[in-house]
């Protein structure tokens, strides 16, 4: 089996691009893991849609306050300098361009920046939550994802085939194999695993990968 990053390693890599003092929203599920890997000396301020800025880690089991939860409905704690606000103010932060970074999961990302991450099709109960809002407004909308599906199909495509979350919204993708920017409707490769050839990466990608400069090695610690 070819080498690839674990989810923790993808989250670690995404965390390295978050500046000190950045306001950040992490999508529920996998993206929440990014908070664990803030580089030493940097402190991001995390936003949750349900009305908290500057929340912290989960409390010890048994000490949960169920009025103090994040968007994933997990119990959290507060850091000094936190604030509570209502849902309209919370999404004013999202839509109004006040977040520096939103980091989301994805089913599919297109070279146009289109994102599909809320629905796998018409069966079952549809649920969107804040996904469609979060893809708009943040100064940088990044995706973290396995490079391919469990079945090995590419998730980075010319066009999404699943229902869209947003159009032209994603600016960077951190995958299990590479770091790719979306610029001018193209995937531009920035970093890839050293052990992986460009051709092997391209073969697992559903749209053309462009080069606009040198490609760095994607290096992450053991986690």
């Amino acid at each position: 089996m070819s080498p690839k990053l674990s989810n923790a390693q993808i989250a670690w890599r995404a965390a390295q691009d978050i500046a000190d003092g950045a306001y950040v929203n992490l999508g529920i599920g996998f993206p929440e893991m990014v908070a664990k890997f803030q580089p030493p000396g940097r402190q991001a301020i995390f936003h949750t849609e349900n009305g908290i800025l500057n929340f912290g880690e989960a409390p010890p089991s048994g000490q949960e306050d169920w009025d103090l939860i994040n968007a994933g409905k997990k119990a959290v704690t507060l850091k000094p300098g936190a604030a509570f606000f209502h849902h309209a103010d919370s999404f004013a932060m999202v839509r109004g361009g006040h977040l520096d970074v939103a980091i989301l999961g994805a089913y599919q990302v297109a070279e146009t920046g289109d994102l599909a991450n809320w629905s796998t099709g018409p069966k079952g109960v549809p649920a969107v939550g804040g996904a469609m809002d979060l893809v708009h407004g943040a100064k940088r909308v990044a995706v973290i994802t396995d490079h391919v599906t469990k079945e090995g199909a590419p998730k980075l495509l010319e066009r999404c085939t699943l229902p869209l979350t947003g159009v032209g919204c994603v600016t960077r993708v951190y995958t299990s194999l590479a770091v790719i920017d979306i610029e001018g409707g193209r995937f531009v490769l920035r970093e890839k695993l050293a052990a992986l050839t460009f051709e092997a990466l391209q073969a697992q990608t559903g749209a053309r990968l462009h080069l606009t400069g040198p490609v760095a090695d994607l290096t992450v610690p053991e986690l």
């Binding site: 103090l68 939860i69 509570f84 109960v125 969107v128």
Partner: protein
């Protein structure tokens, strides 16, 4: 000018069949469990109110609160952003059987539509949902070269909201993240019914820290030790 109502039963006694009812809370945080249960109790005793349209971020969890309201058969339609939960079986079964209507709204659009209803703004434009199936049939307009979706206000006949402290004039504070949709729903409903852990005399809330001014509130009822949906569900409670 005393908006205090003595009992939960009395507080929910006039909600009519077919009413649109906004229910505060994000999951269990801010869910007005006691008001919802009082409404269910009334329905079991009288058959009313039925055919409700409920606005909430979610679709209930387990067999208490909103889930119990749906389970009792009182809800015709749900307007929400995320009808999933740890135990969504009540809504899921009814939805898949075609027994409950769902209007799925992105969470920020839901919040803004409710605020618009409260603020007298009949419609607004948002980037949210543009180019997705949730914007199907909606009016699109370009501003500064970018397309936006027109969304309409959302109003309700009644709002059920959980607060931390109320004064008798209806001024409210909330507790932590349970604030969420509460202040917006108070604005958007013709009649806002609030359960508060504590009801104090006017002057008992610092005017600087009032979150919902009393003008948005019609009834307050004291629930000194409110139940938490999450705790009830972990204990397997059924209402």
């Amino acid at each position: 000018m005393d908006k205090t109502i003595a009992t939960l039963a009395e507080a929910v006694a006039t909600i009519a069949d077919g009413a649109t009812v906004m229910i505060g809370g994000f999951g269990g945080s801010g869910a007005p469990i006691e008001l919802i249960h009082a409404l269910i109790d009334r329905y079991r005793a009288t058959g009313h109110p039925s055919g409700l349209t409920v606005v909430n971020n979610n679709a209930g969890n387990g067999h208490v609160g909103l889930a119990a309201l749906i389970e009792a058969g009182m809800v015709r339609k749900l307007i929400c952003s995320f009808p999933r939960s740890a135990d969504p079986v009540v809504f899921t079964e009814r939805y898949l059987a075609g027994n409950i209507e769902l209007e799925l709204v992105p969470q920020g659009t839901l919040a803004e539509r409710i605020r618009a209803g409260g603020a007298g703004i009949p419609a607004f434009y948002t980037p949210t949902g543009y180019g997705t199936e949730l914007a199907t049939g909606k009016k699109i307009e370009e501003f500064d070269g970018r397309p936006y979706v027109q969304e309409r206000w959302l109003k309700a006949d009644v709002a059920l909201v959980k607060a931390e402290r109320a004064d008798t004039m209806g001024n409210l504070t909330y507790r932590a993240a349970s604030r969420n949709f509460g202040p917006l729903m108070c604005m958007a409903a013709a009649e806002t019914i609030v359960q508060a852990r504590e009801i104090v005399a006017p002057g008992g809330i610092d005017p600087e820290t009032v979150v919902t001014p009393g003008i948005f509130v019609q009834k307050v009822v004291a629930v000194p030790d409110p139940q938490q949906e999450e705790t009830l569900n972990r204990a397997g409670a059924v209402h």
